[in-house]
Symmetry: C2
Amino acid sequence: MAVYTDVAAEDLAEFLRDYDLGSLLSLKGIAEGVENSNYFMMTEAGPFVLTLYEKRVSAADLPFFLGLMDHLARRGVPCPIPIEDRGGAALKELNGRPAAIVSFLKGVSPRRATAGHCGGVGRALADMHLKGAGFAPRRPNALSLGGWRKLVEGCGRGADGIEPGLSDEIASELAAIEAGWPSGLPSGVIHADLFRDNVFFDGDRLSGLIDFYFACNDLFAYDVAICLNAWCFENAREFNVTKARALLGAYRRVRPFEAAEVEALPLLARGAALRFLLTRLFDWLHPVDGALVTPKDPREYLARMRFHRGVESAAAYGLLDR
Amino acid sequence: MAVYTDVAAEDLAEFLRDYDLGSLLSLKGIAEGVENSNYFMMTEAGPFVLTLYEKRVSAADLPFFLGLMDHLARRGVPCPIPIEDRGGAALKELNGRPAAIVSFLKGVSPRRATAGHCGGVGRALADMHLKGAGFAPRRPNALSLGGWRKLVEGCGRGADGIEPGLSDEIASELAAIEAGWPSGLPSGVIHADLFRDNVFFDGDRLSGLIDFYFACNDLFAYDVAICLNAWCFENAREFNVTKARALLGAYRRVRPFEAAEVEALPLLARGAALRFLLTRLFDWLHPVDGALVTPKDPREYLARMRFHRGVESAAAYGLLDR
């Protein structure tokens, strides 16, 4: 839950004069997103989401994120559409913060993902990967290999406080992943954070993908690997191969995997688990005074990383043939 | 901001089967209300607010609150209408908590109240007082005189940590208020917490009164006194008589004051300021571990109480004649 910047109705009413959205009818701070302040906003033109970008999001990256959402939405990806003001600007300023209005998406995030949900995620992810083609701006993945090493250094020996020996385990894991990381795999724009909270369903039908604030240019198969971690485990530890098969099967019906992607998947999945282990560990070891969000337990991703380390081939993910 | 109980979309979808509201289209935890968990909920039947009642609200009082909202809404007061399920029940249970769905009200709370807003508040308050007639259930005001003495005892000498001598000042203030408290004034159902956050406006027009969870049977003029404190001060200390005149003038055009009410108003306003001073002081001195809400500064109401202590007659509130 997060509403860091409090918006006065009067200030928003003034802000809305730049838009063709009619007058303000309702404004509610919503408990969605942990990096930014989000408001459900109703105007005479309908429901919208107002986002004020807080310090953890780099203002320089915002044109990339908003431009990408616009690009994808115009091509049929069910993501929020940034709303432009009369001057054609989608990125504005409110209360001294970068701010944007985006379209409101119906749907709810499932608490308990089914294999049907996982199939929807796989299909939507592949569709997004294909439709990102032609989006010219580029954003390197700050949370790829190079970023992980910096996080490891920032954590020092702190991991040992969570489990004795964990610092060494992470160091050797990072070395193994760096050594084996694939090159030359298909790449493009990836979501990089397609967790349950960021996917909406209307019944069984996937109705929305949100929160593109980690989107970047990277390997498509790495995005798939993130989703395997995010969607296919039960109780943090037990891998559900039925869900994985549904996710991967739906993905490749839209965008077939190359052989090298299938081969790399276990290592990419280890890397994805390490990435979330490291960011959680870092936040755990460096709590922010007055934070509104409780740091998440890093151990969940430690268990996943260990699972993937034991995986010999993508067959363990239910991917039996190409 | 407060969402204490996290509701799974699947559980809510199941819950909604008892209602004629169609299926769930959206669910967002909203930062509204400090005592309960509130969700903006969209179903095929439109937008609603789902409330889960947390521990600070007595479950035994909920039928009073919900019954009152229903009574008032049917008589044209712009308050949320409790939605009944197919069996006619408005008060239900979800996630082990008492829960209710109410209608969604358009409008926003002003950050900077104008005299026009204050007039709207006075008019709506008087209208609510008249229309509460005929609502048979009764609920004594737990936060009237008797409750204040308990709060004073619960604060011990803690007030002295905020300002030396404050404990004695509060004790003598309480004694003076107890000695002078009027009897025989017109009474009925009052809102008792009609602060800015609990009033919505659509432009200049008052469009909603919410949060009836302190409503009770007490003196009408005491409710007016609460509103004087809540709406007619600038920067916590400066009394704005133009706003008070607008509020009181609009009130008495709907429900004329009796002479004894006008005479009692300064003491009632002192009492109202003491009431919020005491509850804030108590929360300040007894912070709750893991609370999502920062205790509010009690001194704001100390300044108001001192202002009212110096008031000789309701003329100081702009009430020049009857």
